[in-house]
Amino acid sequence: MKRIINLDINGQAHEVAVGPHYTLLQVLRDELGLLGTKKGCDTGGCGCCTVLVDGKAMYSCMIFAMATQDRKITTVEGLADNAVLDPVQQAFIEAGAVQCGYCTCGMIMTTKAYLSSVGSHVPDDLEARRAIAGNLCRCTGYQKIVDAIRLAASRRIVAGSEKG
């Protein structure tokens, strides 16, 4: 039985009719057309559906949409401030941390949550790799992703504060 629920996605209120079994991923992509969040394995194994729920990285393929009412959802579409990219997005571009691109949005969301949780710390290679342990890049282009994470982290210190 479908029910109308209210979702707060990227600071915007959405009213959407969902079935009790709908995942957040399904609602984002199929109901709201927010296609930045990717569907990969659909079983919480690959990370490309990663979004932020109340600022924490989660697999949107594993959350029931109805369980995300009253919570703040951020997708990759919500990172850029108009035309200005989020520092994490900018760092991924500059480091060339994209091959086929399918994992990129999930990587960026995981990185975003990770960097928000470590203050001004700049992770070393191992820490950056551990941070994205829940995201697979099937092109195996990890080194540049790690470079991008570290670049974004180091910039944040130069800038003195982090956006969002």
Partner: protein
């Protein structure tokens, strides 16, 4: 993607309400904690007919506290919340719990709940093995009231435990260990999002002189239907001063207690070999937490 047959998604606001719903719907209802295990099951087509999902987010069971000498972990406490709690961070005796919580990736740590992990009853999960090394217990609410069941008696088979359909785990309980106790956990996995090929948790209690007074060794992951207590390993340690040779001997006798299986992920022989090494290394890690450093035997 979950089954379209589900008719209702309910969000009760107390454990009592959950129990009432379970009494009403019985095997047609499923309790959802973080949902990570459930979605994995659904995606593999292993979930039977369910009419109702009962979401636990609003029942008020996310907390970590001490009740006298018992650590009470609320059922819906996430891995991340438990790992961040000061008590888990700073108690050598809870080291195994902290170790076990560090293996899954951030997304799972943010979603998976402690009781959900315990209730899933898969012998391949990590946290139950760590909790068993601490003689942890489950507190469950049901229509007849509340009861406590030790984890060593909790599991029956793959995906099966002793609770009735109408019971809900409200808390995981861990008794405060005697002073000079420490625990540790190790997992063999092929990638960061993998189920254990093998996992081992140990707890050791020593007296003032460093002699082992009590020990627990628990092995899980591909060694049977439920995690197994390796009493032979424990017996080697008790009453003895831990030396590198003693730890090696304790690891070597693990073969008496476990019966590893061969599957597509690895062989029984490899699991047996790793179990010996992991018991020894987990003991080393626990002793290190007590400030007792031994050299690894060559």
């Amino acid at each position: 993607m979950p089954s379209a047959a589900v008719k209702e998604f309910l969000q009760p606001s107390s454990p009592q309400e959950v129990v009432e719903l379970l009494v009403k719907y019985r095997e047609r209802a499923l309790v959802v904690g973080g949902g990570t295990f459930l979605h994995g099951i659904i995606a593999r087509g292993l979930l039977g007919q369910m009419d109702v999902l009962i979401d636990l987010q609003k029942v008020g069971l996310s907390y970590v506290k001490y009740e006298h000498d018992t650590l009470c972990i609320g059922a819906t406490t996430t891995f991340a919340e438990l790992a961040a709690s000061e008590r888990v961070q700073n108690s050598p005796e809870l080291g195994a719990v902290l170790d076990a919580l560090c293996y899954p990736p951030a997304q799972i740590r943010n979603m998976a709940t402690v009781a959900g992990c315990v209730a899933s009853a898969t012998p391949l999960f990590d946290l139950p093995v760590a909790l068993m090394a601490l003689d942890g217990a489950v507190r469950a609410a049901g229509p007849k009231g509340s009861r406590e069941i030790g984890l060593h008696k909790f599991y029956l088979d793959y995906f099966e435990h002793v609770l009735e359909r109408t019971e809900l785990i409200t808390e995981i309980l861990v008794l405060r260990q005697p002073s000079r106790s420490a625990s540790a956990f190790l997992k063999l996995e092929t990638n960061a999002n993998d189920l254990a090929l093998l996992n081992v948790a140990v707890r050791i209690t020593v007296d003032k002189k460093g002699t082992c007074r009590d020990a627990r060794v628990v092995v899980g992951g591909g060694i049977g239907k439920v995690p197994v207590r390796a009493v032979s390993c424990e017996d080697v340690l008790k009453g003895q001063y831990p030396t590198a040779a003693l730890l090696k001997e304790s690891g070597n006798v693990v073969a008496f207690d476990i019966h590893p299986v061969s599957d597509y992920r690895t062989s029984a022989k490899y699991r047996s070999t790793v179990a010996k090494v992991f018991v020894r290394r987990a003991l080393l890690r626990a002793l290190d937490r007590l400030g007792m450093q031994l050299d690894e035997p060559s």
